[in-house]
Symmetry: C2
Subunit: 488 residues, 2 copies
Amino acid sequence: TVTTRNGLDFAVRDLALAEAGRHQIRLAEHEMPGLMALRDEFGPTQPLAGARIAGSLHMTVQTAVLIETLVALGADVRWASCNIFSTQDEAAAAVVVGPHGTVDAPQGAPVFAWKGETLTEYWWATQQIFDFGVDAEGNPVGPTLILDDGGDATLLVHKGREFELAGAVPDAQPGDSAEWRVIVEALRASLAVDPTRWTRTAESIIGVTEETTTGVHRLYELHRDGQLLFPAINVNDSVTKSKFDNKYGIRHSLPDGLNRATDVLIGGKTVFVCGYGDVGKGSADALRGQGARVIVSEIDPITALQAAMDGYQVARLDDVIGEIDILVTATGNEGVVTVEHLQSLKHLAIVANVGHFDNEIDMAGLESLPGAERVEIKPQVHEWRLPNGRSILVLSEGRLMNLGNATGHPSFVMSASFTNQVLAQLELHTKIAEYPVGVYVLPKLLDEKVARLHLDALGVKLTRLSDRQAQYIGVDPDGPYKVDHYRY
Amino acid sequence: TVTTRNGLDFAVRDLALAEAGRHQIRLAEHEMPGLMALRDEFGPTQPLAGARIAGSLHMTVQTAVLIETLVALGADVRWASCNIFSTQDEAAAAVVVGPHGTVDAPQGAPVFAWKGETLTEYWWATQQIFDFGVDAEGNPVGPTLILDDGGDATLLVHKGREFELAGAVPDAQPGDSAEWRVIVEALRASLAVDPTRWTRTAESIIGVTEETTTGVHRLYELHRDGQLLFPAINVNDSVTKSKFDNKYGIRHSLPDGLNRATDVLIGGKTVFVCGYGDVGKGSADALRGQGARVIVSEIDPITALQAAMDGYQVARLDDVIGEIDILVTATGNEGVVTVEHLQSLKHLAIVANVGHFDNEIDMAGLESLPGAERVEIKPQVHEWRLPNGRSILVLSEGRLMNLGNATGHPSFVMSASFTNQVLAQLELHTKIAEYPVGVYVLPKLLDEKVARLHLDALGVKLTRLSDRQAQYIGVDPDGPYKVDHYRY
Ligand SMILES: NC(=O)c1ccc[n+]([C@@H]2O[C@H](COP(=O)([O-])OP(=O)(O)OC[C@H]3O[C@@H](n4cnc5c(N)ncnc54)[C@H](O)[C@@H]3O)[C@@H](O)[C@H]2O)c1
Ligand SMILES: NC(=O)c1ccc[n+]([C@@H]2O[C@H](COP(=O)([O-])OP(=O)(O)OC[C@H]3O[C@@H](n4cnc5c(N)ncnc54)[C@H](O)[C@@H]3O)[C@@H](O)[C@H]2O)c1
């Protein structure tokens, strides 16, 4: 339930963790030069004044720096996590308390997130981010913007409104996921209490900025089907996001999660990585860097050929399942690892998903497998004793283990991603007329700006084009430096 | 001058080299599964019948397999190299003799290329590819298609026509390159002999397919300025071209060229790579793989940040010039290495350009540097004794050293590039109505087809999407598998 203290709503594990969180935020700020540069550049002019941002994104220390950057630029912010396990409780507490508040008189931003939410709690928390109180006339105030990761907040608004317009919430169907059942029930309860809540919320929202592949995919589908209610900026496909966060972020946090969860030596092991997109590339690179033999699977001949050219065996999971010590999923697809696969693994093979949803591995099937027994080794690390007498280790219950078993992506890559987020929120808030309903990527010049803000911290010295050279290659010496279709 | 034997025109070093060339072509065919698959698929139906292709692309063993594939699909082909040093004389001879001909009765395709052309010879050879004899009425017959690399053939047609329409060829200006002077003189001579030659040639051409970054860049500029005369397919930006050839090709052929030219150990040396695009990425990767310390320069903050995240120091050439043992240029820009840079290098530092034109290094400036002396160590390897008492080693006179000092890209990557070329020629020849004047990339499905044709040879086992998975990620199980803006 929501606590209100000093006029501030929140639902976090323990506000007393705020001091520990603040220390970490301080260190993270040093590793997030892009966000700090935006505070310097835009703090004085408060360009986000009047923006009410509903945020749904892993409530980590890095996100705390993002939230406080949005606030520093003038925005009103309410936040939930976009994953039941990814919250860092001390970061959540520190954001509520704020840099200048105290536990007794918090002065930060409302956060509704704790590590280890149930699905019901998760969707409850997500609902809280849309509720910006009442105006002078006592009318409920909704957000103007969503900042989303994976599209759950956007989904809730779209589905809520759809069911309100239909006047009823349909029953979940057999085969629907457990999560969908929870969403349906949450919306059924909402409809009973306030039958226009989501319709109003949708009206108050001018746009959404979306962080990740899966969410962006949902947005393109919604738009294709004519159902998208407001413009969306696809932050994922900024080069400084997908080619950095997805790849270099996972390169850092996948082995980190494996180590913290299992302390198993990666070197020498046979690792199978499903998917060779950006996340798969970072995964394979990191594990090879640790001395593992890496095998990759792909459905796309181009990415399959890339994997081969990068020196990886490319195989079907079925064909090598018995050789695998560590199984990593990075496809963003569903049903990639079946219960049959899980039962064919070696004893104590490790199963680690870094691909967004838990349906990438058939966790539902495992849970209903007769004779399978789940033993908690420690939180987010479970031994599943299988009917065949072997065990497997499943990390984070099949959800993102780099967030569940470690602390997610490191600050530096998140700085690049989140600098894109802030620039995207600024675009929508200050230039909404330029964005009719649709899905957009940020202009390349802003993408290059994000990169630029991260060079000094790494000691990078950029070369400047002479006018003559710029003319020769047909670009402005200040950028953009590449044609739009350039792939990096 | 052109030799005609058995009705076939050619100008190559020595037809007697044909047998040696044929052996190499046979081995290359084994490494070029994409081209061989196209022969199997399209040979029977001869879809290129009626196409007259003017080809300007490094006359190597791999290009021989391309040429013979075009011929196997029904095309008439005439060929020149697009670089004065890149011809493999035995490959040129073998193409002229053909798989079924003899030195005395060649039955192959007309080739005008030899290793070590002068610029005048080069532009003479380029002119020969446009001349497809005369028709039944005795009227000259021109090509229907250009297959270009770097855009020289396309340039010649555009400039030739422009000067013909103007009625005169302008004088070269002070500061114009030596090469431009040669082009101007060649066109002046042509205009005097046949004042409508290029206008006619331009009319007979329905389109061009362009191989590389630099040529594509010229095409976009021509189109932007409304001067492009026919549609162009940008083969360079097929994923299976730029992300394979430019990157993995150079990863192979840059160290190969360094070794063959100098036999200097790369390990431990400090190498500077100018540019971190696809070619720069492959260069840096190869040299790091050999144990060099690699420093990169970039003008684009995004690619600079990529280089940093990949673990390279990113610096300005000026700042580290005195530390460099091997200097590699991979920018496709001009004046990247100045005469001052060359004079600041360590004694016997190696200068290697893999970035298309020799103006990337100020070779003209070096040649006119008072007191500088050029000593030929062996062909394409020159010691330049500088006035400061130090020497530097310049490879391939500042031109593409991976082609000049080694044999260019290996067959396997060229198979991917050239399979795109053949598909692009097929598109234009069979579907020209779908291509109004403009610059196009191949449809993604064809790009994926190119990749697919190369998987078996590497033992890659592709996973197939289930219908349910395909629906979940919103693609057809047969592809295309990615949105158009996907970067790979
Ligand atoms: N764990 C994290 O911190 C994190 C960070 C960023 C993104 N993600 C998530 O990771 C997933 C992948 O992201 P990405 O940017 O790499 O996307 P991507 O589209 O670049 O890569 C996914 C790859 O998986 C392949 N694939 C699809 N179905 C497959 C199957 N059945 N078998 C084998 N391969 C298959 C696709 O061809 C594609 O190449 C997404 O769900 C994204 O939301 C996670
Ligand atoms: N040697 C070969 O066999 C071969 C093969 C393919 C392409 N090429 C040629 O190589 C060149 C590069 O091709 P690419 O595909 O990598 O292109 P690219 O555009 O991907 O990369 C060029 C990079 O150089 C950078 N750059 C431009 N000017 C610079 C400067 N003054 N200093 C430092 N960096 C600078 C650009 O920002 C860019 O990132 C082109 O000329 C292309 O035609 C050569």
